[in-house]
């Protein structure tokens, strides 16, 4: 399974057997956590994710007993501990209970979302917004930290209550389509694009801002100015200020997003550079996201009509099943975007802003130097410093810890984390039921090797072929420099990257499968995508001309 990374694994010291039960296998998840994660994220999201996920799977009677998260060299690993039935009979009961539960949840997924999950998320997001960090006493602040910990756990519990039926519903549609039609996976996905999710609306907002910039006569300013100096240049004119006011209004709704699952990167509200870069690109290429969306929705309707005509001679039961499955597929694709917008983006962004305020208090008390030093601390350390009114006394020790951890993080960036730690995984991933197949198609399965020189093989993510210059991006900041027509090549793309899909001509990622976020968004934006291409960001050189065939899952490099 490990190829080129094997040689670098020696540089990844793991004192494994001392702390972990023998037989345990923890998997690396480069799709969500490709880079070292900050100590505060480790110590908050680690337990929140594990507890929230575990609670959700137990509420759904799934055969997973617990989910565990651990970190080594600041890289995040996790594992799922399966239930151990004592008998075949118990095994049967477990799997029947899981199946019944998932069937029920898929059937009521949208109702649950609107009636239960979304209100629960929204109330928690509002609570995070409204916590009075500045005015809290040390005791109140400690209580607040605990409350936020509970909210964070709730986020992950709701997250998995949403995504498990979501994957199931997308998988059920894809499998049904494969059984009834002769087409490819891409043909199936053509029917389910066009959901008007919040992230599509977010893209439309950027496109509207680009149109506004043109109307206000700001096009040449956008053309001639680097994104870094755009805010100050805009501030200098009346039209510029008008534009900035509209941008602020947009960011109030859509600016709670940042790069990766991490606290350390600023939100778009704090740093609008990436939003401005997207607006600039949209302006340059004249992208009209609303027209694109309408065309996409229409093409999905046309594809669905053709499918219905094909099924006209089929028994009513099949036609009825098709309509139900098509709705599942569309709901699933919609929920993929929607849950990201509310939980993965706004949730983490507001957690960052909360901890940053706590960091500000600690900095004012002299415990740390800068507010964002808080991200280098563990939550226990933060709690202790917060509750201690005489924090200044411990200042030197804490500052040293922060400095050490920053060094460790930098060091960790040079390491190549192995795909797993602990005992090697036993056999291929399970593939026995729709849920397992869906998870497989989310993460993308084991790496594939191409036998053809100059070709890389991955999973077909979004159909079509495009040729262009490769833009290798490790961070969203790198990615925001993508020029119209260039091909975005990244380890993973998280939801905040999605507006760039309206600029790039294609996308290649190292992680993910046909149901991954990247693949789904590429389909929504109608650009070719090959996902799960092992080692793409190193095999493809910056500026190299490449051809992405999103239908076959092959990337060809120009020599």
């Amino acid at each position: 399974m490990v190829t080129t990374q094997d040689t670098k694994t020696s540089a990844f010291p793991v004192d494994w057997n001392e702390s972990i039960d023998s037989g345990a296998t923890f998997m690396f998840d480069p799709m969500h956590f490709p880079y070292p994660v900050s100590p505060l994220l480790q110590s908050t999201m680690g337990p929140a994710f594990a507890t929230g996920f575990t609670t959700a799977v137990n509420e759904y009677n799934l055969p997973i007993h617990t989910v565990e998260v651990c970190h080594r060299n600041h890289y995040r690993y996790d594992r799922q501990v399966m239930k151990q039935p004592a008998s075949d009979e118990e095994m049967r009961q477990i799997s029947e209970a899981a199946e019944a539960s998932m069937q029920r949840e898929v059937g009521r997924m949208m109702d649950q979302w609107h009636d239960e999950h979304l209100p629960n998320i929204t109330s928690r997001l509002n609570r995070l917004r409204n916590l009075d960090v500045e005015g809290a006493s040390p005791d109140e602040l400690v209580k607040m930290l605990d409350e936020v910990g509970v909210i964070h756990t709730d986020f992950w519990r709701i997250h998995f209550r949403v995504v498990l039926p979501m994957f199931m519903s997308m998988q059920l549609f894809d499998e049904f389509y494969a059984e009834v039609f002769e087409g490819t996976e891409s043909d199936a996905h053509a029917l389910v694009v066009g959901a008007l999710s919040e992230s599509i609306k977010g893209g439309m907002g950027l496109s509207d801002l680009a149109a506004l910039a043109r109307t206000l006569g700001l096009e040449s300013l956008f053309r001639e100015t680097t994104t870094d100096s755009l805010p100050s240049k805009l501030e200098a004119t009346e039209q510029g200020r008008q534009f900035l006011a509209r941008l602020d209004a947009y960011l109030a709704d859509y600016g709670l997003r940042q790069d990766l699952f991490e606290y350390t990167t600023p939100t778009w509200q704090e740093d609008p550079t990436i939003a401005l870069a997207s607006i600039r690109s949209y302006l340059l290429i004249g992208r009209d996201a609303r027209a694109d969306y309408a065309a996409k929705a229409q093409s999905a309707e046309d594809a669905s009509t053709a499918a219905r005509e094909h099924l006209a001679a089929y028994p009513e039961a099949v036609r009825g099943q098709f309509e139900a499955m098509l709705q599942f597929g569309r709901d699933g694709a919609f929920m993929q975007e929607e849950h990201h917008f509310y939980i993965d983006q706004q949730g983490i962004a507001l957690l960052r802003l909360f901890y940053l305020k706590v960091g500000q208090r600690l900095a004012e008390a002299g415990a740390i130097e800068r507010a964002d030093d808080i991200f280098m601390l563990h939550i226990d350390e933060v709690r202790r410093l917060t509750g201690d009114s005489e924090t200044g006394s411990d200042g030197d020790g804490v500052r040293a810890t922060v400095a050490t951890r920053r060094d460790e993080m930098r060091q960790a960036h040079t390491m190549a984390p192995p795909p797993f730690i602990g005992d090697p995984p036993t056999g291929p991933p399970p593939n026995g039921n729709p849920m397992e197949r869906a998870i497989m198609r989310f993460f993308g399965g084991p790496p594939q090797k191409s036998d053809v020189a100059g070709q890389l093989k991955g999973n077909a993510g979004s159909k079509g072929v495009a040729t262009g210059i490769a833009r290798i991006a490790r961070t969203l900041d790198d990615a925001s420099h993508v020029e119209p027509g260039e091909i975005l090549v990244a380890v993973t793309t998280t939801p905040p990257w999605t507006p760039l899909f309206g600029v790039a001509s294609a996308v290649v990622t190292e992680t993910g499968g046909a149901l991954s976020h990247c693949a789904i968004v590429a389909r929504e934006y109608g650009i070719p995508a090959v996902v799960g291409v092992h080692g793409a960001t190193t095999a493809i050189k910056p500026g190299q001309r490449i051809t992405v065939d999103g239908t076959s899952g092959i990337v060809t490099l120009d020599s």
Binding site: L172, E175, F176, E179, V180, E309, H310, A312, A313, Y314, P315, E316, A317, V318, Q321
Partner: protein, 336 residues
């Protein structure tokens, strides 16, 4: 309509107009006309009578009895049937029948063309499956070809051998052809007025599957199997494999297709409780008046129940009660 003077009377009879005899309309045609007379929901159908066949066969000098023909001459006999010109009055009758369906069905015209030999579906010998059925026939040319194919199947190797072995060697082999509106069944069934498994004549056994009934009759699938008690309650519903189904062509493409049943539907019961009740009520009502134990082939389309044919059950007489035998094996015995 002037052909009456140039040939025998009535080469075409509409089965719901008047009782038709086995000698004229064949076993299938006769039972359909009986079902129609009893008020059963049978689709419109006509029979191209045995007289049409007789005139065609005589004019070509075809053999009349199984003993008259050597097995190796059968391919030539069949080729003659497929290619020789039809007498005008037969061609006109077929054309009249087609036009009548066109008036009735318009663009939806799709037909089931079924062999109806005089010996088949008798109470002792089923002859089932020996002669051809052609489904989803839509054009005049396809109809003529399907009728010829039914005729030719009278002289299939298997049909010839069956007659030689079962004591029909000296009988004149005659065949009519039933042309019926094709009902695009969402779910099809064969209902048995008696329970061959438990040897209970107060039970009813229903087999059912998705799509056209051809999937059950041809043994393509293991259908669902329902046992209904004397009081109409479902005593047992066993879900069959149902991995394939037979469906009509799509759009302008005529002719049936075999397609896979989506996995989720394979394990779903093909019949609802209400459908089982509807079949049971109709089957019980008909079986008393038919005067013999029968299997009834039918289907549901757009929520309505249709019957396509009734056949006497021959296995009751032929087989001792064999509880250990699976129903599908029994069916294949009765149908091969």
């Amino acid at each position: 309509m002037t052909h009456h003077s140039s040939g025998p009377q009535c080469p075409l009879v509409w089965l719901h107009h008047a009782p038709s005899s086995r000698a004229d309309a064949g076993g299938k045609g006769a039972s359909l006309s009986q079902l129609a007379a009893l008020g059963a929901p049978v689709p419109n159908a006509f029979a191209l009578t045995t007289q049409a066949w007789r005139w065609f066969a005589i004019s070509l000098g075809l053999p009349r009895r199984a003993m008259d023909v050597n097995e190796r001459d059968l391919p030539r006999v069949r080729a003659d049937i497929m290619t020789a010109p039809l007498q005008d009055f037969i061609a006109e009758a077929i054309s009249d029948g087609y036009l009548a369906f066109q008036t009735l069905l318009g663009d939806d015209l799709a037909l089931a063309v079924r062999s109806s030999a005089t010996t088949e579906d008798s109470s002792s010998f089923s002859f089932a499956g020996l002669h051809d059925t052609i489904l989803d026939v839509r054009t005049p040319a396809a109809l003529e070809s399907a009728i010829r194919q039914c005729w030719a199947s009278l002289w299939s190797d298997r049909a010839h051998a069956y007659r030689m072995v079962n004591g029909f060697a000296t009988e004149t082999a005659e065949i009519a052809v039933v042309v019926q509106q094709l009902v695009r069944s969402d779910v099809s069934f064969v209902a048995f007025t008696t329970d061959p498994i438990h040897d209970r004549d107060d039970h009813l056994v229903i087999t059912a599957t998705w799509g056209l009934g051809e999937a059950i009759v041809s043994g393509l699938v293991v259908p669902d199997q329902v046992v209904v008690g004397a009081d109409g309650s479902i005593l047992d519903y066993t879900i069959g494999g149902k991995h394939m189904m037979v469906i009509p062509g799509t759009g302008r493409d005529e002719g049936i297709r075999h397609v896979a049943v989506p996995r989720l539907l394979q394990s779903q019961p093909a019949l609802s409780r209400e459908q089982v009740t509807a079949i049971t009520t109709m089957t019980r009502s008909l079986s008393a008046r038919l005067g013999y134990e029968a299997d009834l082939e039918g289907g549901f389309a757009d929520g309505s129940l249709y019957l396509f044919q009734a056949r006497p059950i021959t296995t009751i007489a032929a087989q001792p009660p064999a509880v250990s035998m699976r129903l599908e094996e029994q069916l294949s015995v009765s149908r091969q």
